[in-house]
Structure formats: C-alpha cells, structure tokens
C-alpha cells in the first residue's frame, strides 16, 4: 500500500513538474530564459531523498526534455541521471536541506549540465553544442534562486 502511494506520488511529481516546465518555458520565459525546473528538482530530490529515486525521475524527465528538443536523444536523460548520482554522493557531506546549499548545488549542477551536453554532442556528432553565453551565465543563477525558494517552501523531512 505504501509502495503504491509512493508510486502514485512519484507519477504526480513527474507529470506535474514536466507540465510546469513546459508551461514556464513556453509561456513565461522573458527574453527566452526560463529556469530548468526539472534539473533543479532532480538535484533537490537527490539531496533530500537519495539518488535512486532522483535518478529514475531524472531519467524520465531527461527523456521528456529530449523529446522536446532537437538535441541528441538520450543526452538530457544521461545528464540528469549523472547529476542525480553525483548529488546523491555529496548529500551526506553537506546540509543539503537548507536553501543556500540547494542554491549552490543547483548553480554547480547547471554549469556541469551545460558542459556535459556540449561534450556528449561533441562525442556523438563531432560538434560542441554550446548553449550560448547568456544561458551559460544567467540560467545557473536563475536555477539557484529557484532551488533556494523551493528549499524554503518545501517542508523539511524528519531526520534529514
């Protein structure tokens, strides 16, 4: 019963976040810039609940992002899985439930994500896919702010 509830909760989180990301990036993106909600949530999920669940969510969110973009199919999924795994490794070394560490994690994860996508693109298509300086310099901080806000809004889990 508990596992079913958890599964339903995960599905709700998955579809709700995917819808919000689409809504935000297509309707509320001044100058074409919208935060990467799915990336921020993957990192937040990994730092709060551990890597396995975040990796699963990140994988499917990544596939969703891949299906929405013209990039290599699977690159976003791989990037989010790796970010979830890396966050899971460092979650015990910091108080990742607080707003400031969440923001730092989100900013670092965003830069890592952009560079990783470029490298993957270079490996598979021999062309480094660069997101542009505006996205590279602005988006991570936008993501950081969003992560901090989410950390403040979201109730803390006991024992974390």
């Amino acid at each position: 019963m508990k596992s079913l509830q958890s599964l339903l909760q995960s599905l709700a989180v998955f579809f709700g976040a995917a819808f919000l990301q689409w809504l935000w990036s297509s309707h509320f993106a001044p100058y074409g810039i919208a935060p990467q909600l799915l990336l921020v949530l993957t990192v937040a999920e990994a730092s709060r609940r551990g890597a396995p669940r975040a990796m699963a969510l990140g994988f499917f969110w990544g596939l969703f992002l891949d299906s929405m973009s013209a990039r290599l199919f699977g690159a976003d999924a791989l990037a989010l899985v790796l970010l979830a795994y890396a966050t899971g490794l460092v979650r015990y070394q910091m108080d990742s439930g607080e707003a400031a560490p969440q923001a730092v994690l989100a900013v670092s994860a965003s830069w890592a994500y952009f560079l990783f996508l470029g490298v993957v693109s270079w490996i598979f298509t021999q062309r480094f896919s660069w997101v542009g300086w505006t996205n590279f310099l602005v988006l991570p901080f936008y993501n950081g702010i969003l992560a901090a806000v989410l950390a403040l809004v979201r109730p803390r889990r006991r024992g974390t």
Binding site: W22, S26, G50, A51, P52, M55, A56, F59, G62, D66, S67, M68, L72, F73, G74, A75, A77, L78, V81, L82, Y85, G88, L89, Y92, V120, F124
Partner: protein, 283 residues
C-alpha cells in the same frame, strides 16, 4: 547509506547503458516520429516556416500527413470563419444597396439640392424630439434647412436643421412640440398649421370653421411656409377632432408620412445658389 550507494551504482549502470544505447543508435524513424508528435502538440508554431519544411521532410509519410492535415484544418477553419464574416458583410451590403436604390428614385423639389446624410444619433429620452446627422457646415448645411425623409409617396417632411457643426447637424423633428409648419390639405383650399405633439402624431390646427377635413386626406406643406418648399407631403389625416363650440377653429390629428424615429437616411434640402450673371464689360 551503504545500501543506498549500492542501489545507486546499479541504477547508474542501468540508466547509463540505456542512455548510451539511445545516443549511439541513429535517430530511428519511430523516435523521430515521437519527437515530432510531442513537439507539435506542445508547440505547433515551430512547424511553420522554412525550417519546418526541412523538419517535416525528414519525417515519415504518415506523421507528415498528420501534421500537415492538422495545419490545413486550421487554415480551413480560419477560411470558414472568414467566409462567414464575408457572408454577413454581403447581407448587410445587400440591405444597404436596396435602401440606396429606393433613395435613388426620389427627386428633390425644384430649386433645391438634396444632400443625403445618415442619422448618427437620436435623442435617447425622446426619439420624436431630434437627431444628429453626419453632414454639417463643411457640406454646406445651414440653420433652417428643411430635412426630408424617404416614404412610399416620395420625399416627405421630417424636420429642419436647428444647429450646424462642422461635420454634423442637429435636426429638430416635426413631431417635436416646438415644431410647426404651415400646411394645406390635398384639396388645396384649406390652410392650417401642423404642430408637433412630442409623440408619433401631429396636430393640424387652426383650420377655418368651414373646413371639412376627411380622414385619409394627405396634408402637404403650404407654399407660404418660410422654411419648407410647398407641396411636400407631411402625412395623412387620421382623425378629425370634434368641433369645440368655444373655439372658432377646427383641428385634426395627422399620421406622419415618415416615421422619423426609424429613419436611417435623410435628405437635407439646400437652396441652389442663383447662377452668377456675367455682365458684359461696358464699352
């Protein structure tokens, strides 16, 4: 913690393997179709324009057909809306054409030029008081110009201009209580004064005691009128009022020839200027 790390490692290996498999496979037809379908549902705008044609060309025939059919459907819907709008417009133009045709056959009295104007605004409190027309000083309209309206019998009296602005004029209707015009009955021998009553009826007053107006007789403007040219229909005698033994005059109710409250176009009569006479220079 150890258990979580172990599970994470298994998960990592599994997801990486799947992702690498997806990455290393060429973008096969089903994946491209799926992507096109999802992207088209989420954001159809990017499937318009030159780039979209390139994108569509790479898709399988059936998916391309679906997307183009949806786009064509949207275009046809817009065209259907437009044709509905055009149909409405056509109907409106047809009605207007019919109205203008009926006006075309009307002739103004000799010595006057008709200036056709549209009724713009009516007095909201009393539709038989006055209205505003879209012709004014710039078109040569002056105060006291007679205003006529189309009726089955030709042009009939509606009122007179009482206020002139550059682009519009105020017309005081004959049905207003302040309006009056000298009139005679179709026999041409009996003259009276038609006065407005503030409603749809007029009153033909001050008829001499010997006059015998009959219901259905037409009432015309009198040639003695200071404002209106003579012999223009005003209305028909609807009811002769009983004679008052204390009054030396008779009166009758008149039904106006034109319902001024429902008029859309009126003719303002402008007196034709006398042709200038060119005098020969004295030798």
């Amino acid at each position: 913690m150890q258990r979580e790390a172990k599970i994470s490692n298994y998960f990592l290996a599994f997801y990486c393997a799947v992702c690498l498999l997806l990455l290393s496979l060429p973008l096969s037809v089903p994946v491209a179709s799926l992507k096109a379908g999802v992207v088209y549902i989420m954001d159809p705008a990017i499937f318009t324009g030159e780039k979209a044609q390139e994108r569509l060309a790479q898709l399988p025939e059936r998916i391309r057909g679906l997307i183009t059919a949806d786009q064509e459907n949207q275009v046809f819907r817009a065209q259907a809306q437009e044709s509905l709008w055009l149909e409405d417009n056509l109907k409106e133009l047809s009605v207007e054409n019919q109205r203008l045709r009926s006006l075309l056959g009307l002739r103004a009295p000799r010595g006057w030029s008709p200036l056709w104007a549209r009724v713009m605004e009516r007095d909201p409190l009393n539709r038989y008081h006055s209205f505003l027309v879209d012709a004014g000083q710039n078109e040569g309209v002056a105060v006291d110009d007679p205003v006529l309206g189309p009726s089955p019998a030709g042009l009939a009296v509606v009122g007179r201009v009482v206020e002139v602005r550059p682009l519009s004029s105020v017309v005081l209707l004959l049905t207003d209580e302040l309006s009056a015009v000298a009139a005679d009955i179709s026999s041409g021998t009996v003259e009276g004064l038609v006065q407005g009553q503030g409603d749809a009826r007029l009153l033909l007053n001050y008829l001499p005691p010997g006059a015998e107006p009959q219901a259905g007789e037409t009432v015309y403007t009198s040639p003695t009128s200071a404002v209106f040219p003579g012999n223009i229909p005003i209305g028909m005698v609807a009811k002769v009022r009983p004679e008052d033994p204390f009054l030396a005059v008779k009166s009758a109710e008149i039904r106006p020839e034109v319902d001024a409250a429902a008029l859309a176009d009126v003719a303002i009569l402008i007196k034709r200027a006398a042709r200038p006479v060119l005098l020969e220079p004295a030798k």
